[in-house]
Every structure is written in structure tokens, then in C-alpha cells.
């Protein structure tokens, strides 16, 4: 595997590339509005001055990277982490429901996959409805779920985590059904000759054989959990969390705030996905995995 140091150069150069493209687009996308402004104010700035202005709008269509960076820096490092405006605080709020939802979702996904693989009735009857469940747009039902849960006294972290769960169990279920069914026939036959119980075949064969599928699915699931947690923050009045920041930003057209919340979300996502990746690699190594 590539060491961290091997990655630094490529990651930074690609990031630099992205930033450059970003600046170009910032100028292009912000230009029309700036032209309008200038026209109404009856000024005709030079090209450089004009570009400078497009990169310094208070509510730009596409904020310039440095605007986002400054905002991100202020809200991350210059505020006490308990302040409701701190990105660290908001990221933490989101992260906590993400993790809880991810844990629920992974567990639920695995349970469903186990059921489908082992119980013919479930295999035939459950899958179509799970698929159907996933096509229900969460943002449409999230408020209803939260209303109903609030009515029976469940508030706070759990409702948000449940929306995360709802989004994250599916990738795990799909992946694990495949993974648990992926052992080779000779291996299944071998367990058969030992008259191994289903549980033994499961633990000793199906589970290890499913590991590549599990971790791949979990990467997708953890990302889905984060999306779910953010979505789940809206109908709770969006008081705290990355979703709340996004909403507040959107509501007041504070694009810079939106983008720095997006960056925060992406960083959290990348960290989560990498954490799952590292866990996967550790497990792979413990299983005698062979370098590709």
C-alpha cells in the first residue's frame, strides 16, 4: 500500500489543480452579477480590478477558494469548539448521529443479508420491499418520521441517527448478500462434509469470504450515513450540525458559509471513508492478505 508520504505529492498537486480550476470558474460564474452591479453603479473597472471584484463578493455565486478557506479557518480554529458557530462543534454534532446511524445501519444491513441468505422465505419476499423502501425519498418522509417519533417521545440524536440508518443499511445489505454468497463451491462442499451447522459455515466461511464486499459496502454506507445525518438535521429545526449550517447559509444566500460547511462535510466524509478503508486493510492483513 502506498504510504502516507507517497500520497502527499499527488494529492497536493491534484488539489492545486482543483483550486486553479475553481478560481477560473469563480471568475466566470461571478462575472455576470458583477457586471450588473458595475453597470448599475455606472463604473467600468479594468480587467484585473474586475476579476478582483468577482473574487471578493460577499454572496458570490461561486465563492473563491480563499474566501472559503478564510471562512473555514475562522469557523474552525478561531471559535471555541462549544460555540454554535464553530464548524468543529457542528461537525461533531453531525458526526455523532452519523456514527450512531452507521453502526445501526451496518448492523441492520448485515442482519438483513444474513436473513436473506439463510431463510428462503425472506430471500423471496423481503428483497423487493427493501428495494422499494430505498426509493422512498427520505427528505419527503424524514419530517413525518421525526414528527411521529417526537409524538412517542423520541427526540434528539436518535431520530437523526435513524435517518442515517435508513440510508446506510441498504448498501450493506446488497453487498453482504453478494459477499455471503461468494464462497467457492469447494469450500462450501468442504463445510458440508463436516456437517457444519449453518452458524459454523457462516462464521468460518461466509463471513471471511464476504470481507472484501463488506468493507466496500461499508465505505458507501458511511458516506450515506453522513448524508442521512445531514438530511435528518433539517426537520429537527436545524439547530446544530453541518446540515443546519447549510440550511442557514442557503436561506440567507450566504454562499461562503455553504461552501465552508460543504468542505467540512467533505473532510468528515473523507476521514470516515479512510477510516473504514484502514479498518478494512487491517482486517485484510489479519487474514493473511496478499499484496496485489
Amino acid at each position: 500500500m502506498d504510504s502516507f508520504r507517497d500520497k502527499i505529492v499527488p494529492v497536493t498537486s491534484i488539489l492545486v489543480g482543483i483550486v486553479v480550476v475553481w478560481y477560473v470558474f469563480a471568475v466566470i460564474l461571478n462575472a455576470p452579477f458583477q457586471r450588473d452591479l458595475d453597470r448599475r453603479a455606472n463604473v467600468t473597472p479594468g480587467v484585473v480590478e474586475f476579476m478582483g471584484k468577482t473574487l471578493a463578493q460577499p454572496k458570490p455565486t461561486l465563492p473563491a477558494p480563499h474566501q472559503v478557506a478564510v471562512n473555514f479557518f475562522e469557523n474552525t480554529f478561531l471559535r471555541s469548539v462549544t460555540s454554535s458557530r464553530s464548524l468543529v462543534y457542528n461537525a461533531w454534532v453531525t458526526l455523532s448521529s452519523t456514527l450512531l446511524g452507521f453502526a445501526f445501519g451496518t448492523a441492520l444491513g448485515i442482519v438483513i443479508a444474513v436473513g436473506i441468505v439463510h431463510v428462503a422465505t425472506l430471500d423471496r419476499s423481503l428483497m423487493p420491499w427493501i428495494i422499494a423502501s430505498q426509493t422512498i425519498p427520505i427528505l419527503a418522509v424524514a419530517p413525518m418520521i421525526i414528527v411521529v417519533l417526537a409524538a412517542i417521545g423520541i427526540t434528539g440524536l436518535i431520530p437523526k441517527a435513524l435517518i442515517s440508518t435508513y440510508l446506510s443499511f441498504f448498501p450493506v445489505a446488497v453487498g453482504m448478500v453478494k459477499g455471503l454468497r461468494s464462497p467457492e463451491f469447494t469450500h462450501l462442499d468442504l463445510m458440508h462434509t463436516y456437517n457444519a451447522s449453518r452458524a459454523q459455515t457462516f462464521w468460518k466461511l461466509r463471513v471471511p469470504a464476504s470481507v472484501p464486499f463488506l468493507f466496500t459496502s461499508m465505505k458507501v454506507a458511511v458516506a450515506a450515513s453522513l448524508v442521512g445525518a445531514i438530511v435528518g438535521e433539517l426537520p429537527t429545526g436545524a439547530v446544530a450540525g453541518i446540515g443546519a449550517k447549510l440550511l442557514a447559509g442557503a436561506y440567507y444566500s450566504q454562499t461562503i458559509d455553504i461552501w465552508s460547511a460543504l468542505v467540512a462535510g467533505s473532510v468528515v466524509a473523507a476521514l470516515l471513508v479512510m477510516a473504514v478503508g484502514i479498518a478494512g486493510r487491517l482486517v485484510d492483513r489479519a487474514m493473511g492478505g496478499r499484496a496485489a
Binding site: 428462503a120 422465505t121 419476499s125 430505498q134 426509493t135 422512498i136 454468497r181 472484501p212 462535510g265 473523507a270
Partner: protein
Amino acid sequence: MSSVTPRSWQGFAALALLAVAVLFWPIVHATPGYGIAAAALIFLLLLLAIAADNFPPAIGAILLFIGAHGAAWILVAGITGNEGTARAPFYLLLAAAWLLAWRCVTILSALRPTSRWAATALRLIIPAIFGAWILIIWEAVTRGAGIPFILLPPPSAIGARIANSLPILAADVRQTIFKAVIFGYVVGSGAGFLTAILADRVPFFRRGLLPIGNMVSALPIIGVAPIMVMWFGFDWQSKAAVVIIMTFFPMLVNTVAGLAASGHMERDLMRTYASGYWQTLFKLRLPAAAPFIFNALKINSTLALIGAIVAEFFGTPVVGMGFRISTEVGRMNIDMVWAEIAVAALAGSVFYGVVALFERAVTFWHPSVRGG
């Protein structure tokens, strides 16, 4: 009643529920409530079902089916006019019918029909019964407990709404699915796939692109959707862009994992042919990656739908499934909201089913398809 001897735990439980139901009589605390004939018929049907368990599987299953569903039908039909007044026996009888339907499904699942035709029929019937019971329980509980219409309408109302709104639903499907979803799904999955190949081909990109690809993974729709509306306008293009972003990551991750899935000996074999990168890719690594790639395609088939619908909550023309959902919530037409959801679920299932069929055809060799 003494002649009825259950054979399965579901049968026993159902019998016990019947007994308890008698203790807590009547079914609703409203007059007139259920007529004596209706109540007797419910009991008769349920007892018939319990007894049918002892018959040969095929006949038993048919009688169980008739008994459980007939009883449920009468029970639910009887609540009309008495909404919100159900008492314990209502739910107990419903539970008994459900247990017997479960028993029926268990028997059906165990059947190994010889003819292809019967096997296909069974494959359809079993999930249908399961789904029917979701709807029956939903109908019975919303009406029995009198749950406010604007919180959760009963499926019958949703069905009626669907039947009355076909042109609107069709227009919405056209806008959301045939424009945004399909385009976004193809481009997003394609982009994830190509990025994975690119990362695989060029080590520089592998190191640099994947960590950044991870960051795209969780760009929350609600954050991205308004931006996409800003960039691509309020019509379907911005929704397609959201779908692209949503479907990109699952495909990226799965393709990367899949490309690592081919065996060492097979790769060595291709090396001995001095097979070029692309030949090895197409002849060995992609076929070996297919199970992973199809996983992504399946997950994306539902994600794309969610993405497009949710993206329409932001700025849209006045047509589309997401538009309709958010608008009708505001108008308290929750039945229309659920009608759209039902259509989405149906479309999503068909979409998923098509992908799954392709998967079976393409990865026929994989143990999971051969029946591991």
C-alpha cells in the same frame, strides 16, 4: 373448535390470539360495530386456515391463503364508519390472520414446483403476499387507530389517488425519471467507473484521486442541490447533476475493490501472454470485478431516484416527482405525496430488477449467482 389442531407455531399462536380476542370482545367501541355474521365469518375463516395447515402443502397453502386474507378483508372492511374506534380484538384478529399468512408463505417457500411456470408464479406470489400484508397492516392500523389523514393516509386512499392522477403522475415520471434519473445514473456511474480505471491505470492518480474521490462521497444533496440549480438552471439538468454526484462514489469504490478481486494466478497468466494493460483489464479484471460493479449499479439505481427527487425540493419547473411531493405536503394532500412515493418505489424496483437481470446474465459464473 376442538377438531382444529394447529401444526405450526403460527397456528398455535393464531389460535391463542383468537381465544384472547373473545375475552376482550367487542371489536370496536362504537355501535353498531361489527355484525354477528361478519364476526362469525372472521372466526370461521381463521379456524379454517388453522385447520388447513394439516392438509397437503399445495391445498393447505391455498386454504391458508383464503382464510387469512378473507378474514383480514372482512375485518378491515368492517371498520368503515368506525374509524379510530378499534379495540384490542381488532388487532388480535389481525395478528392472527397475519401469522397464518406467514405460515402460508412458509409453506409456499418450501414448495419445489417442477414446472417452470409454477416456479415463476411462486417467485411472484411470495413477495406479493409479503407486500400485501404491509399494506393490510398499514390500512388496518391507520383506520383502526384513526391516525390523522395528513400524517399517514391509508393505502386505499393512496390507491384511489393514484387511479385519479395518472396523467400528472406520468408527467412527473417523465420529467424526473426519464430525464434526470437515467441521464444522471448513466453519467454518474460511468464517471465513477472511468475514474476508478484512471486511478488504476495511472499510479499518480491512484494516490491523488482516490482520497479526493472520497471527499465527493458525502457531498450532501441538500448542500449540493442549490448549487447545481445555480450552475445548471432549474430544469432537469441540475437534478441530473445531483444524481451524478450521488452515484459517482459507490461506483468508484466498488470498481476499485472489484479491480483488486481477480486472482493472482490469473493475473500471472495474462502476464505470461505479455498482455497489455487494457487487454488484461477487459479480459480478466473487469469480468472478475463485475460482481462489485453490479453492486454499485444496484445501489445507484435507488440512490439516483432519491437524488433526483430530493433535488427537486429546491428549484424546479412545476412538474416532477420531487416538486409534487414538496408541493402537496404544503397543501396537506398527503395521499398525493404517497402516490408519488408509491410510483417512485415501483419505478425503483423495476429499475433495480432490470439491473439484477443483467447481473444474472453477465456474472452467471459467480458462485452467488450459481447458488452458493
